[in-house]
Symmetry: C2
Subunit: 156 residues, 2 copies
DNA sequence: TCGCAGAGTCTCTTCACGGAACTCGAAAGG
DNA sequence: CCTTTCGAGTTCCGTGAAGAGACTCTGCGA
């Protein structure tokens, strides 16, 4: 088993589980927050570092890890060794996970003060939040609404 | 700033961000996988330990943390010091996050073998996956479809 | 040529994870 | 009645990762 240099210890990437594999990419501390910041337009190392208060060493490690996994891309600017980080398509897709985290945090952890941020949906112009629906029939789809069956990529 | 005993280092829970607060609850290594296992019916300590291959010490810490945060509840059984862990309503709601992780992992990381598990939706009986929709208008809602605005609980 | 700013590297300390052995309490078994 | 078993942790130790901050390197701009 090959060990990636940035890993907690156990190799989640090798497990036959999409949750574990996803955690292998963004399961380390700070990674989701880095993604959030890049999403809302913080694209440079210094911005990220000072906004998050993360150690420069760890930020470097996380950015490299995310770039290696194709979630972020490093783009030069200004004709000198300057880079910006941007979401790839794969990374943009990952923001879905963040949006659902936001919903849960807003619902269960925000308390009196209310949610720290609001989302305005372009299509309808309303302040709203995300909702999980079945990609087939369009009805709500949550933990209790499904059966989990072994798929083609199941472990032996 | 009070430090919880089970924490990476930086106190995500104190940040004015629902992602960070959510990470404070399930951001530690293994927590999402523990949730997954409890969700699919692994409710006892020994089951979880042997299924995940997690250290018993860490499993104890995680379970306590999740119980403290009201995501799991500890239920006695068998009239002796035996416990089972079950999802609370708050915890069941968190599974939404896992379902979206699964979708991303299935799409981007599953490779040739295909997804390790499949979901059958009770409402329609079809094998399908989750889709993010606007809770207002019902149209798709992803990273690029929204504006992010400061909310009532924003930082000073 | 000096200084500066962005983007990292290096080093050191502290703490958390992994692994394995040990404990504890209730029932079952001889 | 004494011992074993089993579930559910607890304790201990060694290593590796996070945090903090100082240092480096590169190319421009004054």
């Amino acid at each position: 088993m090959r060990y990636d240099e940035a890993m907690q210890r156990t190799d989640f990437g090798a497990m036959a589980c999409s949750i574990a594999r996803t955690l292998d990419v963004i399961g380390e501390p700070w990674s989701p927050l880095i993604l959030r910041d890049v999403w809302v337009g913080m694209n440079r190392f210094e911005q990220l570092q000072s906004d998050l208060g993360i150690s420069r060493k760890v930020l470097t490690e996380r950015l490299n890890h995310l770039v290696e996994h194709g979630v972020l891309e490093r783009r030069p600017y200004d004709n000198r060794p300057r880079h910006e980080y941007h979401l790839t398509e794969k990374g943009t897709d990952l923001v879905d996970v963040l949006m659902v985290m936001v919903r849960w945090g807003d619902t269960w952890l925000a308390g009196e003060a209310g949610p720290p941020v609001l989302y305005r949906h372009h299509a309808c112009g309303e302040i709203s939040s995300v909702d999980l629906r079945c990609s087939g029939c369009g009805e709500p789809m949550h933990a209790g609404d499904i059966d989990v069956l072994p798929g083609p990529g199941a472990a032996a």
